[in-house]
């Protein structure tokens, strides 16, 4: 087990270093190696989808077998998965029946969830003051309200001073967003470096 952990660490670190260098060094064969390793990663990710779907089905079957809450939905999910997968293999993804499965089932269901999300967000905004009564919450809600007023169409035409609201809030929001994104980029860089040095090993090493 220990040898496996050491070998996987060596493989992960070497691949990481080559891919990272491939972005900065143009000397042969580093860029070609980077592309090769990226292609392998994409292929492995494709196989991982199959493993993931097996995991999804196995978890749902376990629910059915042990008569857990929601087991009926689990059975329905596995049945739908088998039927869709079978028809997909037989007919191909471009078949009108398969397209119907996407356009008549998956898209409407996702659209319905999107609609629920809109209501959920309004409800969460209303409840914000129950959770936190502080200055930032007031600022957040006032800014959101002003922005919506300036953006939305009204029966009386544009709200007076909408350009000013959009100008000021746009500048503040853009600045804030850039600040957050710079922080996230730095966090991502450091997280990547920890993996690269083997300090974090999410691939099974201890």
């Amino acid at each position: 087990m220990r040898i496996v952990a050491i070998l996987s660490a060596i493989a992960a670190i070497s691949a990481g270093v080559i891919v990272l260098l491939g972005y900065f060094v143009s000397t042969s064969p580093v860029p070609a190696l980077r592309l090769l390793l990226t292609d392998w990663a994409i292929m492995i990710a494709g196989m991982a989808v199959l493993v993931g779907i097996y995991n999804l089905a196995a978890v749902q079957m376990e629910k059915v077998r042990s008569r857990q809450k929601g087991g009926v939905y689990g059975a329905l999910l596995v049945l739908s998965l088998i039927v869709t997968f079978g028809f997909g293999l037989l007919l191909g993804p471009q078949d009108p029946l398969m397209r119907l499965a996407v356009e008549a089932i998956i898209l409407p269901v996702e659209a319905a969830l999107m609609a629920i999300l809109a209501v959920t967000l309004i409800y969460a905004s209303i409840r914000l003051f129950q959770r936190r009564k502080d200055v930032t919450s007031v600022l957040f809600l006032v800014a959101a309200l002003l922005f919506m007023l300036a953006m939305m169409p009204t029966p009386f035409g544009p709200v007076p001073g909408d350009w000013f609201i959009l100008l000021v809030e746009g500048a503040v929001a853009e600045g804030g967003a850039r600040g957050l994104l710079i922080g996230i980029a730095l966090g991502t860089l450091l997280t990547g470096l920890r993996v690269l040095f083997g300090m974090d090993r999410p691939y099974g090493g201890s």
Binding site: T188, L189, L190, L193, L196
Partner: protein, 243 residues
């Protein structure tokens, strides 16, 4: 060249500060959400309830993988700490390779705590491959599995609203952070203690994942100051008409 220099400086600082932090552990400023998380972990073990950790759907093959790796770092430590619990934590994700890594990380955590026999592969789950199917699958875990606390950490979009709402409906505590701005806004509205921006990457340090995580925070602070100085210098030079 600037990019490579930045990476090299960050790498050197990370190594040096990790060695330093091994001997001198850092005093971290209190962050409400992580204090809540540490309390929730203790309570889940004591009460025999379950901790639900959701790692989002950030594929490791894209730039969104950073937040997923940060989540895995935190998961490793949480798995160790909850290995004594009657009900092991459930981990959900919306990306297949992330789901496999979450199983591996859980197993490593149990192994490190000497409780590998407690590990079940069904505790690391893929709940869906599209944003809303992932959210729908995650909501059912929150509803059905006697969850007392939800930790949502990773790359999510607007579907975060549904996950947060399900947690609220079940009266379970929610600690949530994302690298996506729309998800951050939603979590600001929904979570009791919001985590903003790079606070997502502090999770490991605050759950006791080790010196490297503490050193990372310090390097982030140093680099942030360098970026601030570069922006100010750029603005000043632009004002003078030199660039």
């Amino acid at each position: 060249m600037i990019g490579l220099s930045l990476v090299a400086v960050a790498a050197l600082l990370l190594i040096a500060l990790t060695l330093w932090r091994r001997r001198n552990p850092a005093m971290l400023r209190p962050i409400g959400a992580y204090e809540r998380l540490n309390r929730a972990v203790g309570l889940a073990v004591e009460q025999g309830t379950r901790l639900h950790i959701s790692l989002g759907r950030g594929s490791l093959a894209t730039t969104r993988g950073g937040s997923a790796l940060a989540g895995l770092g935190m998961l490793r430590r949480l798995a160790e700490r909850t290995s004594a619990s009657d009900r092991p934590p459930v981990v959900t994700s919306g990306d297949a390779s992330l789901a496999i890594l979450s199983q591996d990380t859980l197993q490593s955590g149990y192994r490190a705590a000497g409780a590998e026999d407690q590990y079940r592969f069904s505790t690391g789950r893929l709940t869906g491959l599209t944003p809303f199917s992932y959210a729908a699958g995650t909501m059912s875990v929150e509803h059905d599995e006697n969850v007392s606390a939800n930790v949502v950490l990773g790359d999510l979009g607007a579907e975060a609203g549904l996950i947060a709402e399900a947690s609220d409906r079940e009266n379970s505590s929610l600690v949530a952070a994302s690298d996506d701005l729309s998800a951050q806004t939603i979590f600001y509205l929904s979570a009791q203690e919001p985590l903003i921006g790079e606070e997502l990457f502090a999770a490991g340090a605050y759950v006791g994942a080790g010196a490297a995580h503490q050193a990372s925070l310090q390097v982030q602070d140093i680099l942030r100051w360098l970026v601030v100085l570069a922006i100010l210098a750029g603005a000043f030079l632009k004002f003078l008409g030199m660039i």
